[in-house]
Symmetry: C2
Subunit: 230 residues, 2 copies
């Protein structure tokens, strides 16, 4: 246990035990450095993750204060679907359902500014049962290698994630009534909802790909990670 970890833990203890309640002004860095017998940089190192987590707020001249919480935040990780299934000890299966020839897919939402597109519809299976229906549009202008790529053996998801760097991601989570493709390929009843993850991936402002991933609700949930330092 390094000094910066011990200091962080001790500060957390004081906040969680209400010894330092919301609004409380912490001693400044030099005082804390003196108290713990370390250099100022080590105190900073201990405090910065608490700033990131929103537990404390710091302003020059004003000092550092304990924040009354206004939100819960956590990290959401969406793994490659094959890894997710295999980690659960299940057999992964993949089936390419439809794949447009290069350049003739439609941009329903007007996101791609007229760029040529390819649309890939595929199904991911867990132990032979439908697990996720993946419906993807790929920007062929931004990713020309995708004109000729073969998605019958490897899913577009994995092909892209291994090959294409991105700079920003926008993820949307929804519950939906199943659409026609969902009913057909996920083998759902009409009253069974689907859990939909939609993701837009960009590089320097250009949208690279838009994907809708639909899961049967009765066999899927997402769990988010807790911040690890607590």
């Amino acid at each position: 246990m390094h000094p910066y970890e011990e200091i962080r833990t001790e500060i957390l203890r004081r906040i969680n035990s209400q010894a330092w309640p919301a609004g409380f002004a912490l001693p400044h860095e030099e005082k804390l450095a003196e108290e713990f017998g370390v250099a100022r940089g080590t105190v900073r190192r201990a405090l910065s993750p608490l700033v990131d987590a929103g537990l404390i707020e710091r302003r020059r001249r004003a000092g550092t204060r304990v924040v009354g919480r206004k939100a819960h935040s956590s990290t959401l990780t969406i793994p490659v679907v094959r890894h997710e299934i295999e980690r659960g000890g299940h057999a992964y299966g993949y089936k390419l359902l439809r794949c447009s020839a290069g350049g003739d897919a439609r941009d329903d939402q007007g996101l791609f500014a007229g760029a040529p597109l390819r649309r890939i519809l595929s199904l991911h299976l867990s132990d032979g049962r439908p697990y996720q229906l993946e419906d993807r549009l790929v920007n062929l202008q931004a990713i020309p290698e995708a004109w000729d790529a073969d998605f019958s053996a490897m899913s577009a998801n994995e092909w892209l994630i291994a090959r294409v760097p991105y700079s920003s991601v926008r993820t949307t989570l929804r519950a939906e009534r199943p659409g026609e493709d969902d009913l057909k390929y996920l083998k759902l009843q009409r009253d069974e909802p689907v859990f939909v993850i939609e993701r837009q991936t960009r590089l320097d402002g250009n949208i690279l790909t838009l994907v809708r991933m639909a899961h049967p609700a009765h066999r899927f949930q997402m769990i988010t990670a807790t911040d690890d330092f607590r």
Copy 2:
């Protein structure tokens, strides 16, 4: 723009442009420090967020390498529902539906190890329309102040978040068919799904509260934030 930010941006540019492709071994810290004309600590400062984001991996003696991505991760923030509604420019409304007397609620899932519980069912409205049904169990052993708290004016959510510190949170997201309470209070048709957020909040291993927050699917989605340094 500080030196550490410029260096981080430049490194990101090299990774995103494939100049440093997945698997590439970066120069060691001293070499980079020399290249950019800064101290070693500044290079470290520039690289550490890239480590956190999973873009590069570092091991002693082995050096630093660009990682081929295996997952998308992002930060999920769940604000207090009142703030969420008001930020959208809507009128917030709150109604307490049922509130058990202290200690007589049931622990269906056996999470609370026999501790006395209080159960609060309440409805959050946006412009007068049902927005979220909140069903909460509170551990009265861990939070004795909640025996007498009045939740008719202030929601249990806000009461707790302002008063009670926590050390870990487990959040689950699901799509569900609506239950009887959902149908009644959210005024749903039987085939309309609900988007459910379930949250367990703990302090030092003791579970403080368990809450199920149900939203009508047709009027709700979650959007996650992108990492900000890109």
